[in-house]
């Protein structure tokens, strides 16, 4: 038998242990980046510094414009990819194209809130080229800083899809084209065509075509939702064009009329009371005893 080492945290260890910040313990916030994003020049006093926050979950994309305050961060506007069905996009809500749509939606929303949407149209026709807003005569464009969170910023990451959507929507976000999908490291240049393909979901469409020919069963299982909605590989570009137009037409927020459920759904088993635990223990012991008795009888025989 190998040595059994008592792993013990002595009280001395616990007394001296310094916990990290709560959000760091949760692994959600990178404070090094956060300090640098939030820090505002002191001689700008209370001018808010907006962050364009993009976060991905397994089934959703969150894009928000947030400014920090001592009381807590204040969200100016937010857009979620689960709002995209309202504009005609029902499937593929976490891909690069959906990220672009979400970023675009957020940008138009913010500009509308600020009254800048007439002045800053942004890039209406998504070409994939690097586009930066030109400052107009009277009011300067809405400036925000990209906050990726803890994502690894590789070329072609969906975060930059959302960034591109926001830029084309008319926000002023300092960026470089190095991380857009389609940037060739060898040429050190952004291939606008490839980027445009990603914005219109052509990479998904190509995969669909490929699967439909080579492995039809996998195509059925993987793209079942697309098939259900009747979306073919050729329809992708037109679909996204319609979604973009719909977003630009009406980016306002629609409050959902769902009532919050009266009873909250339990996600973990309810803790047993002392009596319940004792009762279950008694039961288990009885079962063990009766089981042992049976075994003994069997052994005897």
């Amino acid at each position: 038998m190998g040595g059994f080492v008592k792993t013990q945290k002595t009280s001395a260890y616990s007394k001296r242990f310094q916990v990290k910040f709560k959000r760091r313990r949760a692994g959600k916030t990178d404070y090094r980046a956060r300090i640098r994003l939030i820090n505002q020049d002191k001689n700008k006093y209370n001018t808010p510094k907006y962050r364009f926050v993009v976060r991905f979950t397994n089934k959703d994309i969150t894009a928000q414009i947030i400014s920090a305050s001592i009381a807590g961060d204040m969200v100016l506007a937010s857009a979620y990819s689960h709002e995209l069905p309202r504009y005609g996009l029902e499937v593929g809500l976490t891909n690069y194209a959906a990220a672009y749509c979400t970023g675009l939606l957020l940008a138009r929303r913010v500009l509308k809130i600020r009254g800048l949407d007439q002045e800053y149209e942004g890039n209406v026709e998504a070409t994939g080229e690097d586009f930066s807003v030109e400052p107009a005569d009277e009011r300067r464009p809405f400036r925000a800083l990209l906050d990726v969170g803890l994502v690894r910023t590789t070329t072609g990451n969906r975060v930059f899809g959302a960034l591109k959507g926001a830029l084309d929507g008319g926000l002023d976000i300092p960026h470089s084209e190095k991380r857009f999908a389609g940037f060739k490291k060898d040429d050190k240049q952004l291939d606008a065509d490839i980027h445009r393909k990603y914005i219109y979901g052509a990479h998904v469409a190509d995969y669909m075509k490929n699967l439909a020919e080579e492995e039809p069963e996998k195509y059925q299982s993987h793209f079942s939702e697309y098939i259900k909605k009747g979306i073919e590989a050729e329809d992708m570009e037109a679909l996204y064009k319609k979604v973009h137009a719909a977003i630009r037409a009406d980016p306002s927020v629609v409050k959902s009329t769902k009532q919050p459920p009266k009873e909250h759904k339990r996600y973990n088993p309810k803790k047993l009371t002392y009596e319940q635990r004792k009762a279950s223990l008694v039961e288990r012991l009885n079962q063990l005893n009766s089981g042992a008795a049976d075994d003994d009888d069997e052994d005897d025989e």
């Binding site: 990290k20 939030i38 002191k42 006093y45 001592i70």
Partner: protein, 164 residues
């Protein structure tokens, strides 16, 4: 070897971070805004090496006279020989805290203004001056029993029992 009188000499404990408060500094230090004329306390944060004031200014309070991108200009009194000089230093915001020295004054001012308004409404004349605490009023001692204490004659033999 001689002692050395460098800039940060004798600051081993002074600039050390407090127990279990090492590492990243909480964000409110960066979010606070300071205006010219505010009173601030200078308290060095050893984790940030830039914009550190000299150890003399640690614990001093002064007025803000300048606000730059990442630092505050603070005017602090320093006694040099026989006179007090108003010294102007620039300190990064991590080493500065808003001072509460005027807090009591401001609250009292607001309260007094309110009292004056109320008094004017009633037509009275009141004085809002602070009065110093006077001598305690006289009082009768309750429940006192008299116990007369007399000295006991010194007994050499018994008292030296404990050893000498």
């Amino acid at each position: 070897m001689p002692a050395g009188h460098g800039l940060r000499s004798r600051t081993r404990d002074l600039f050390a971070r407090p127990f279990r408060k090492k590492g990243y500094i909480p964000l409110t230090t960066y979010l606070r805004t300071y205006k010219i004329g505010d009173y601030v306390d200078v308290k060095v944060n050893g984790a940030v090496h830039k914009g550190m004031p000299h150890k003399f200014y640690h614990g001093r309070t002064g007025r803000v006279w300048n606000v730059t991108k990442r630092a505050i200009g603070v005017e602090i009194n320093k006694q040099v020989n026989g006179r007090i000089i108003r010294k102007r230093i620039h300190v990064r915001v991590e080493h500065v805290q808003p001072s509460r020295c005027t807090e009591e004054f401001r609250l009292r001012k607001a309260k007094n203004d309110q009292l004056k308004v109320d008094a004017k409404a009633r037509g009275e004349v009141i004085s809002t001056k602070r009065q110093p605490v006077g001598p305690k009023p006289g009082f009768m001692v309750e429940g006192a029993t008299l116990e007369t204490v007399t000295p006991i004659p010194y007994d050499v033999v018994n008292d030296l029992k404990g050893g000498y």
